[in-house]
Amino acid sequence: MILTALLLVLAQNPAQDPRYDRLDPDTRARVITIVDSARGVGLPSEPLIHRALEGAMKSASSERIVVAVRRLAADLGTARLALGAKATTPELEAGVAALRAGASPAVLTRVREVRRPPVTMALAVLADLVASGVPADSAAAAIIVLAPSARDAELAEFRRAVERDIALGAPPAAATSVRSVGVSSVQVDATARGAQPGKP
């Protein structure tokens, strides 16, 4: 009851969020303005607050924090345009990561079209592959192939396998291509077995 009342107060007056106290007064005022604007157009505020807190914790300058928060708000907006108004906060955050990794908004939209929600893991794996050195186009192509049927755990394992191959010296694009074919064939086999009851 008390918690609910507190949350209601915070929702009505976000400036009273005690987490803002960790920002210096100038940064705080500017971040609150950005967060309020974002919330006004329906974007989630938590990722923005987290980014400001990260900057403050890392002793970044006020200007740097404000630029980072403003840029994140813009990217969240782009991700929402690509993923649709019903995209969840984790999906939007993963979408931002994919966009910053080099995926186009069209790729995000395509992943949304072919995969049952949530698309968080698919977009996060795309971003992580690029961070591992896989070209953005190769990573996007692999994710679009795998997204319709691969489960989250399979996508995570796919990423780990590609990273292992790269660490062992495989060219990133080749590792991605080979591993994605492997995951796809496993799924095809599983589907075929499922279509023939009684067979192992």
């Binding site: 987490r19 990722p47 607050i49 987290h50 807190l53 990260e54 900057g55 403050a56 914790m57 890392k58 970044a60 740097r64 924090i65 630029v67 980072a68 840029r71 019903k86 969840t88 906060t89 984790p90 955050e93 993963a94 990561a97 910053r100 990794a101 995969r115 049952r116 929600p117 949530p118 968080t120 893991m121 996060a124 794996v125 971003a127 992580d128 690029v130 961070a131 591992s132 997204a147 319709p148 049927s149 691969a150 489960r151 989250d152 755990a153 996508l155 995570a156 990423r159």
Partner: protein, 173 residues
């Protein structure tokens, strides 16, 4: 055995036969009493379990359907139920006096996830996370930022210190 039957038994049998042959006198009002008993409405019996089930099943079915709809939430696009997973974070830092795990999941507050030194400089902690993508880093001795060497790096590091990312999956497709 029949040859040895005593004469008294024959007499008994004969008496029984005579009794059975005797005409039966029926009360003239019997028919009226029987018919009035039949016509009288039956007293209310306590409802048996089976009868109760028969009457209640439409309501039970409706309640079950309602519960299924509420649980499945077909109107919701995100049909993944909130799940949380306990993840262990480990950093090998033999020279460290203290290590904290800080990230989006604890508002970048080093006091909320201090790590424990196991042995030989291995620091570890376990955090329960719901599905999502989180940025985090290790804070060593309160001043030194380190990324997790076992996790993907956050490419968009805008503050000059390394961070890592962890993605917790839901059910997915």
């Amino acid at each position: 055995m029949f040859d040895q039957q005593e004469p008294g038994e024959e007499e008994i049998v004969e008496r029984v036969v005579r009794a059975l042959k005797r005409p039966v006198y029926i009360d003239r009002a019997l028919d009226a009493r029987v018919m009035s008993e039949i016509a009288r409405p039956a007293p209310a019996q306590p409802m048996t379990r089976r009868a109760w089930t028969r009457r209640a099943w439409p309501w039970l079915a409706a309640a079950a359907a309602l519960a299924a709809i509420v649980i499945a939430r077909p109107w919701s696009r995100d049909r993944t139920p909130p799940q949380s997973g306990a993840l262990q974070f480990v950093l090998i830092a033999p020279q460290a006096a203290s290590v904290s795990l800080v990230g989006d999941f604890n508002d970048w507050d080093p006091t909320r996830a201090p790590m424990r030194a196991a042995r030989d400089g291995v620091w570890a902690t376990v955090v329960s996370l719901s599905p999502g993508r989180y940025r985090y880093a290790f804070l060593v001795n309160g001043v030194e930022w380190r990324a997790d060497p076992t996790a993907p790096v956050a490419r968009d590091d805008e503050f000059g210190s390394p961070s890592s990312v962890v993605t917790v999956g839901g059910r997915g497709s």
